[in-house]
Point group: C2
Chain length 585, copies 2
Amino acid sequence: MDNKQEKLEKIRHSASHILAQAVLTLYPDTKLGIGPAIDDGFYYDFEFSSPIEEEDLKKIEKEMKKIIKKNLPFNQIFMPREEAKKYLKAIDQTYKLELLEDIPDEELSFYTTGDNEFIDLCRGPHIENTKEIGAVKLLKTAGAYWRGDEKNKMLTRIYGTAFETKEELKDHLQKLEMAEKRNHRVLGKQLKLFALIPEIGQGLPVWLPRGYKIRRILEDYMIKLEEDHGYTHILTPHINKDILFETSGHLNFYKDSMYAPIKVEDETYYLKPMNCPAAMMVYKLEPKSYRDLPLKMGELGTVYRYEKSGELQGLQRVRGFTQNDAHIFCTEEQLKDQINEILDLLNQFYKDVGFDKYRFVLALSDKENKAEKYAGDPERWKIAEDTLRQVLKERGENFEEIPGDAAFYGPKIDILAENVFGKEDAISTVQLDFNLPQKFDIKYIDSNGEEKEPFIIHRALIGSFERFFAFLIEQHGGDFPLWFAPEQVMIIPISENQNNYADKVYEILKDADIRVEVDKRNKSMQARIRDAEKMKIPYIAIVGDKEIETDTVSVRSRLNKELGLMKTQEFIDYLKEEVRTKGNK
Amino acid sequence: MDNKQEKLEKIRHSASHILAQAVLTLYPDTKLGIGPAIDDGFYYDFEFSSPIEEEDLKKIEKEMKKIIKKNLPFNQIFMPREEAKKYLKAIDQTYKLELLEDIPDEELSFYTTGDNEFIDLCRGPHIENTKEIGAVKLLKTAGAYWRGDEKNKMLTRIYGTAFETKEELKDHLQKLEMAEKRNHRVLGKQLKLFALIPEIGQGLPVWLPRGYKIRRILEDYMIKLEEDHGYTHILTPHINKDILFETSGHLNFYKDSMYAPIKVEDETYYLKPMNCPAAMMVYKLEPKSYRDLPLKMGELGTVYRYEKSGELQGLQRVRGFTQNDAHIFCTEEQLKDQINEILDLLNQFYKDVGFDKYRFVLALSDKENKAEKYAGDPERWKIAEDTLRQVLKERGENFEEIPGDAAFYGPKIDILAENVFGKEDAISTVQLDFNLPQKFDIKYIDSNGEEKEPFIIHRALIGSFERFFAFLIEQHGGDFPLWFAPEQVMIIPISENQNNYADKVYEILKDADIRVEVDKRNKSMQARIRDAEKMKIPYIAIVGDKEIETDTVSVRSRLNKELGLMKTQEFIDYLKEEVRTKGNK
């Protein structure tokens, strides 16, 4: 951490103390939870005696600014355990008393603000004086269980941020506002792409028609792309019998991420957290020879994995999601080509969807512990790791290498992307698997008639359609490339006199497989244009009398570029070309 | 039942006695279960002291024929209960003793064969003499739990059939053989369309690449067809929170068909047995006005319903399946048009997939009990029932009307198809629902600003992709129409000298979106042709030197029709036309 960052953390941690002080000044019977600095700011958890409103945040912020202006010093003091206990009991801070139990020290560290105006159980460090806080802003409240445990009371968490200067705060708030506009949850609602409906379930998004349209287009694209590279696709059920996960080992090492078992007659089923075990069974349906390899078995597989409710986040972190999954069974000699082909597909895909903010991470084994920690033959590990590294290098990719970050069953390449708020998540994976072939006794007969174990590459170009869609929405700010925009053209007749002509153009475009709508609502043309723009429809085709006379449409793109009058066929050709090139001219 | 059928039943029931007699003659320590006549034959359940083999069936059949030849009479006798008990104990027939407990009569009816050669607890009726059995044949064995209860012992069920004459038996066996060739389970395996893998789960089919290809084509076709008629599509998760099924009432009236609950933190989830509750929540996301109606909300929704393991049958009866589901929200005035449109889509779909063996059933309420038994307003029931009947009549459809067969929540039109063995099952449904709008408070604002309840039509053109696929396989005997055949063309070079040319033709066809493969395996041309025919690939394009010289392919269709030499483009046009017209020229 550099000095600037260290200073900022101290400022924010100190601001959280001032927040608590301000709250106690205004609402003296409030109980304090914890109040750390976090990325981009700080928070403090409170148990208020009555709920607080948006209005209250302003009052509290005002009180904080008053405190800051007093130029109060921060000082560390120590109290013996018994004294500390007595003190916290006296001021009736029960949560702090609980925290104290977890600290083994005999002398407890507290920090005072000013002349004991506020005292908090705290290890520090803090700034020296409140005047170092150049700018502070409270942002929002949220519910948070005490100690993150749903069995405990729900406290009120107040989020805020603080900087050395007002300019920095202003910059930050502007960035936040920009990010908020691109936030997939905001755009998802505005553009009617998906919905999270509490009665249906937490972390279980519903794809609304416009979102599902995009998903289906991307699915079809992906299947076609993979078929062109020799993949075939299967579909396996969402629940699998326990024996599969016992065999694979998931019930040993992955149980915490799996849903509770479902009893059916005398059998036990699980919602599948991964598609792999069923894919192995399909491989084994018929004996395989070297002539069958490389065998590329794809699946648009929906999996269900348990995540704590507190960690769910829009489409980015959900409990059920669909992968464009595939298992590639190949020989050692084919390994390099296969990894290259996967990265080719990946690049093609990212380019076609206009996705360019990502980075590669190569997760390797921890050399020293190799033998005991990892499944499979060390020699095969070496081949796999060397091949992954070599391929990335030869392709000239920038990548980070992280020894010790491999799964116990194999090394992998992860592709990470960052959301608008700076949070990073994996979107694609290329994972070697040395566990499954052994567990499921996966073999092929080589050209000498001998049984051999194939290499298995488990790869997902779209690790989760849900999560990838979140990133896609945010990177495009909802302005999707024409080829997968849910509607491509909105026809707007200037008045009802042009309705018939609008319908005619609609039919022609539709027959040419353009996704087109007509807006004949009884609203002003300007209002209808605004609505189409709000839904980020790539092209608006306006038709008035002039257009009827000349058998044209008046086209404007969503970038507010007037393309002027175009013959219908000319417009179709224009659109088709943009779809064909996927906007990559 | 006509006389012929009555006679046949007596013959078969008597044959089952003879089967039991033959078994006891050969394996005296066998315990007898029950032995009824069934459709097309008879069976008898046995507990053998050691397992029997295919070979044993022949021995038993031979013994039966010996008994029949003796011209033994059947006679009914009666025994008082205590005597009957003593007798069955003496011959150690424990299952018969159990059956006796369920018969309330004081005098128990038995039937003797010959001079007490065989005596069985039985109500009859039987034929008079074994000589009336003109022909008998044992067919197969299967496991069957005593009294159909999985908790009981598994007995060996021997199936057979019997007729008055040898000719009738011969005819029947021929028909069975033909049906077996069309049996979707046999073809499913032969054509690699799907697999049932015990380790993955019972009643949970896996779609293999060739089957999934067909499914995906049918899905895309269906979405397009529906979109052209104003449908939009959503996708909801496979597990839903309990509150949805409490609200809908499923947990009351449908619980037996639902899987066990899944606990997640402090919430309870269920695998959804129906897509309706989630669809209702999507409707409610935004207030609706009459301008939004008719609203046609489709979903390719996968549902999970519990079926007893004994009732599972290939793809026809499964535990998890995908529906092309839709909910149509409309006004009373729109109801008739909507039902007509649904039947239009249905006819179009059936015609396009070449499906023509089905019939309509109109399931209506039971007039007398209407008030207490059925959900919703009786007046709306009348409107719905009248409209359904009127539409079917006006369209000139043949349909059966079944009062009392409606669900408690609404009347419906079911479309039934028969499988190769004569078993009938519903494939499509058009169901009115008067329960959901009330349970979920589904409303729209009419043109006068008043809140009203829409009509909800719950329809599935494909009630289950799995089951429909079973029927489709059987009706076509695996010879799928070109437009959804998994591969459309197999190119076979006569020798490796034509491999390059074959690859060239392959690329041209592929670029024209023809689903094409090349078979360059080191096998004789005849063998490769046979393989392509075995996989029922619609067209085989053979290329030799002559074809290279003339820039053609030599085409034969799977109907063994030689189409002769065709220029590649000519061949493409020919295929495209067949795809465009879906074979309906």
